[in-house]
């Protein structure tokens, strides 16, 4: 456990999928290795572990997502064993509150099969997660037609798989925005060009100029917030603004494990955990920026951008396409309302 926390603090993971995978494996280990008598105790253990993990790396929402998902799985499996339908766990309706005898499930009865069944469900979820990129890419041919010009920013594994899958059937052009200062766009362009997709690399400053010729913007995201907004790579907000100006649809690809419960508050407070300012070395290196005359200059290098839901046209996830205004409904399928506060 300690090792995992250290890894989180030192950011020894490679993107949100990797982190999600590591987190859920760790949680699976906790379920098998710790001793617990009933569902309540298990949930308390997981909650405790979750709190520690989230505080180790507050800017990565995927950790919290995984923890809440596991808690929801435990609740569902418990209820299913008891014989009631799963929906009754979720619906805290007025009618139920008034008429039912037991207000809520107390999860206290010890069940022998609970452990195996919960492990099965968690494994199933891990399989679903592993197949998520493949499921999203399978929808590619529905959304890309021939001779389209598609714009993308930075490097997202999901977008790469999506475009490569579509290129098997359709011919189209891709414009990749390089995404200074990390230049991940160059990597994506190289990978796409190796599959014979017509790719053009442009600078960040040319996005507005090129947007009049673009048919679709397809971007990946780091996380999806509860209101349908995005926490995406730096530069995505500018691209989305330019797309709105030219009435170009913005399609966001993201698996369901990226959907979080949090909202974005731009006023102070949340900003500390929302954005990460990385080293200004990448914007202006020490050789230039360290000279006397420039040593007082504040250099900003944000890692993420908040993209409001009004700028997004469509979300494509492994369970299909959705409008951003619908995303909040999917939350109730993934997480239980009692787990919103860990």
């Amino acid at each position: 456990m300690e090792q995992f926390l250290l890894d989180l603090k030192r950011e020894k993971y490679n993107g949100s999928y990797d982190l999600a995978y590591k987190t859920i494996n760790h949680l699976r280990k906790i379920i098998t290795q710790t001793r617990w008598a009933n569902a309540n105790e298990l949930m308390a253990i997981i909650r405790e572990a979750g709190k520690r993990m989230v505080s180790a790396q507050p800017s990565e929402y995927v950790i919290g997502n995984m923890v809440r998902r596991v808690l929801k799985i435990i609740r569902e499996e418990y209820v299913r064993i008891q014989g009631e339908s799963e929906e009754s766990v979720n619906k805290g309706s007025l009618h139920k509150m008034v008429t039912s005898d037991q207000d809520f499930q107390d999860f206290n009865t010890p069940l022998k099969e609970l452990k195996t069944i919960v492990m099965e469900a968690v494994n199933e979820y891990i399989d679903e997660m592993e197949a998520s990129i493949h499921n999203i890419a399978a929808q590619a041919v529905e959304h890309i037609h021939s001779d389209e010009v598609i714009l993308t920013v930075g490097k997202s594994r999901t977008v790469e798989a999506f475009l490569k899958q579509a290129a098997k059937k359709r011919k189209f052009h891709v414009i990749v925005v390089e995404g200074a200062p990390l230049y991940h766009g160059h990597e994506l362009a190289k990978s796409l060009a190796s599959k014979k997709i017509e790719t053009t690399v442009v600078t960040d400053s040319a996005v507005f100029a090129m947007m009049s010729r673009v048919n679709k913007v397809i971007i990946g995201t780091h996380s999806v917030l509860a209101n349908g907004g995005l926490k995406a790579v730096n530069g995505a907000h500018m691209v989305a603004l330019a797309a709105r100006q030219h009435a170009v649809p913005v399609i966001v690809l993201g698996a369901m494990f990226k959907l979080c419960l949090l909202h974005h508050s731009a006023l102070g407070g949340n900003e500390a955990s929302f954005n990460r300012l990385s080293s200004p070395q990448e914007v202006m290196d020490h050789y230039e920026g360290g000279t006397e005359i420039l040593s007082d200059v504040q250099i900003y290098c944000p890692t993420f951008d908040y993209v409001p839901p009004e700028l997004v046209t469509l979300f494509i996830s492994n369970i299909g396409g959705n409008a951003p205004s619908y995303m909040y409904r999917l939350l109730s399928e993934l997480y239980h309302p009692d787990d919103h506060e860990l």
């Binding site: 190289k190 017509e198 100029a209 530069g235 907000h237 500018m238 504040q298």
Partner: protein, 482 residues
Amino acid sequence: MERTAGGDQNSGLTAEQKKQLKKERRKAKVSGKATQSTTQVQTSFPGTDASSSNVLQKSKAELRAERRAKQEADRAAKAAMKAEQTSGGSKLKGPQVPANIQADDPKVQKKAAKKLEKQQVPQRAEGQKKVALFSHLHQYERSLSITSNMGFGNTGIHPAIIQLGLQYAEGLITGSNARCAALISAVCRVIKDYVTPQHKELSRDLEMKLKPAISYLNQCRPLSVSMGSAIKFMKLQISVCRKMSDSEAKSRLVDSLREFVRVNIVLAGKAISDSACTKISDGDVVMIYGNSSLITRVLCDAHKVGRNFRVVVVDSRPKLAGRGALRRLRQAGIQCSYVLVSAASYIMPEVTKVVLGAHGLLSNGYVMGSVGTSMVAMAAKACGVPVIVCCEAYKFCERVQADSFVNNEIGDPRDLLVKTNSHKSNPSLLDEEDWKQMDSLKVLHLTYDVTPPDYVAMVVTELGKIPCTSVPVVLRVRSTDT
């Protein structure tokens, strides 16, 4: 009979027109025969009659009369058009499309190449990997020096111009004011060294001499709007000094060119600076983009006057011109921040004003600036931050353009890449080998973009503060002044 009337006009027809008329007559005959044959066929079925043969003959005569009438009408129309052409002159000619945005038309390019050969100006070779979206523009790569085959001598281009062209091509002189001022100083040197040959007039011959020089500069780097304005002024001044002695004409030319720079760049800069300083108040956070000599001047003057503000400099790859502006502002002692253009929307909530420089202002109100200006203006509009553009009046041009594609300058794609096997500041960057080997991979380096007028709140010129859409009004006023 119509024949005689036609005969008078017949003498005015050229051989070609006569041939065309013959063709028409032949066609009419054939069609006449065809109609005749169809009428014959039609009449043969119900049986031949005497009356039907009469009908046939009548139709023949009718057809012939029709044909003749048509020929007369054609002849009359052609003669009228010819008369109009000789009297009207260039009424039918509209504005010409320049050759530099027709790089995909082989005929136009052949003509341009011939012209350059005549002027003894070397032509640049096109780059290997062109971006298809911009195939109508020249896409050069900075490979061999274009002057390696140029000769010196009296008939060649003046060495000051050659030096200037190389400085433009290598990017040693950048910024529209700097390029214009350098052009004028080089032309002054040319004029000073100029000696009118015998039996020739200064005004015509000097213009002839400057034409290849301008073509050469255009080959090194496409002319900017400011340079175009200066060249127009030059031509006007040269044509005015007709009836003067050589030395008088030369000194007058040099003086007027120097005056052009003084009035349009130096004094205009001062007027704009005074005007724009009133717009910067205490506690402001001003955002600027790239490196504009005028904007840095405005901010330094505002700081000298005693305004308390800080500046956010937005920069972009590959030119990273913002660092130059950053240094100049820091030297003046202004507090600065620095971001790349992708983070402009991140920092925009802190900003109270955006002040931008322009490369030129188009007649439909669009602002042409270095690529990325429109991004900053768009982000500002989205956050409700006012955008002020500062631009001297000599940079207003009559061109109109609605997007950044139809007319632009494509820079060297290698500026975005890293040289193979050299130290990479960032491991993700593509190197030239990757780019050359992969056919499907193209790299685009744009130089300019256009900002729509609804993003700009106000343009500050030396003539006052005007909205973006008043550019044609100013152009008109200036053309009636000079």
